[in-house]
């Protein structure tokens, strides 16, 4: 359940930004979560409510933008979509793949009042 640690990291970033901007509270947090990143979004949603309680972000809406997985296929010499780690290249069926997109989990922006 490392999502709790990730949620704590998220809250810290959100609160630091909100304070610097002189916000009274945070109304929305927008995350970008890659399909190939280390996070289960359901678990993260659960943790979001727990960690934001009593913070500037209590009651904020959690918006999650899903970023599709993408990899560079060496034999194909180009980027291909990759739904999951361990899947084959949808073009050539090979596994010589290096992840190029969808590996990150970031706070994209926050809405504040």
């Amino acid at each position: 359940m490392h999502e709790m640690a990730l949620a704590q990291g998220m809250l810290e970033i959100v609160e630091a930004t909100a304070r610097r901007e002189g916000a009274a509270r945070v109304t929305q947090v927008r995350l970008e979560i890659g399909a190939l990143s280390h996070v289960a979004t359901d678990a993260l949603r659960f943790c979001f409510d727990a960690v934001t309680r009593g913070s500037l972000a209590e009651g904020a809406e959690l918006a999650i933008d899903d970023v599709p997985g993408e990899a560079w296929c060496m034999p194909c010499g180009g980027n291909v979509p990759l739904a999951r780690l361990g899947d084959a290249c949808p073009r050539c069926g090979g596994y010589q793949l290096a992840v190029t997109g969808g590996g990150d989990m970031r706070v994209k922006d926050i809405a504040i009042v």
Binding site: M1, H2, M4, A5, L6, A7, Q8, G9, M10, L11, E12, I13, V14, A16, T17, A18, R20, E21, T27, L31, H38, V39, V51, R84, L85, G86, A88, Y95, Q96, L97, A98, V99, D104, M105, R106, V107, K108, D109, I110, A111, I112, V113
Partner: protein, 278 residues
């Protein structure tokens, strides 16, 4: 859990003592955010959107970078050992330390939810060990390792093993400042684990296939396990060994030796001379 860093807070201990005083590691600023405030196009009139663009693991990664710099400055070759519980990590470490002998100093950071059993086993070999107990935590993070490093006072040109909490999921996400993650898979586990837990195998630079002495008694297909691991991590190096019988240990020791040479080749000559004199 600590609300400052999410590191496991008061549940986490080092060598049984609550050691979370929120010292240096937490001083790492999460500021320097390039935020650009803009009027929100919709919603409440006084609501505005602030761009953040920060990785959820930014703070952990910043502390890990400090750990890495500290280790590199001392020419330490640091490995983060990850696996399921019961793959034989601690036995591998004990046998490695015994076989390593006087080639260089060795130190170990042990991560477990509870007990100091593993650190006790390491200390019985004569090597210094720090036990980090994570309490309810499922992984080591960079701040825990930073505090453990402060206790170890590593000699230059040391080999440092960080034995992570036995867990094939969570430790994959957390950089500790190591040179490499080494994933250990034993033949008594399923050969399909690399595909079941791809994050960990993707994060690793070396897979140690352990307990090969038991291969005749189990239906583990070694070639298939390696092929699956290389599906998620093309080019993954593999060393097959048995920590119990010693088979294959030479290849592992040679890999460690090469890594330590690379790590210490960056050291200024004065540091090396001091280490040899000491």
């Amino acid at each position: 859990m600590c609300t400052t860093c999410g590191c496991g807070g008061h549940e986490a201990t080092i060598d049984g003592a609550t050691a979370f005083r929120h010292a240096d590691p937490h001083a790492v600023a999460i500021g320097a955010v390039h935020a650009h405030a803009a009027k929100h196009a919709h919603g409440a009139s006084d609501e505005r959107i602030v761009a953040v663009e920060r990785d959820l693991l930014a703070k952990n990664d910043a502390i890990a970078a400090l750990n890495r710099r500290t280790l590199e400055q001392r020419g330490v070759f640091a490995l983060n050992l990850v696996s399921s519980p019961g793959s034989g990590k601690t036995t591998l470490l004990v046998r490695t330390i015994e076989a390593w002998g006087a080639r260089s100093p060795v130190a170990v950071i042990e991560g477990d939810q509870q007990t100091s059993f593993d650190a006790d086993r390491i200390r019985a070999t004569g090597a210094p060990a720090v036990q980090v107990n994570t309490g309810k935590g499922c992984h080591l993070d960079a701040a825990m390792v930073s505090r453990a490093l402060a206790q170890l006072d590593l000699a230059p040109r040391s080999l440092l093993f960080v034995e992570n909490v036995g867990n094939l999921v969570c430790p994959a996400a957390f950089d500790l400042g190591e040179a490499h993650k080494v994933v250990i898979l034993s033949v008594t586990e399923g050969e399909d684990k690399p595909l079941k837990y791809p994050d960990m195998f993707r994060a690793a630079d070396l897979m140690v296939l352990n307990k090969v002495d038991l291969a005749p008694y189990v239906s583990f297909d070694r070639a298939r396990a390696i092929e699956m691991a290389r599906r998620v991590r093309p080019g993954l190096e593999v060393i097959e060994l048995s920590a119990t019988t010693g088979a294959g240990m030479d290849a592992w020791l040679a890999w460690l030796d090469a890594g330590l040479r690379r790590a210490s080749s960056q050291l200024p000559a004065a540091v090396v001379a001091t280490a040899q004199a000491g």
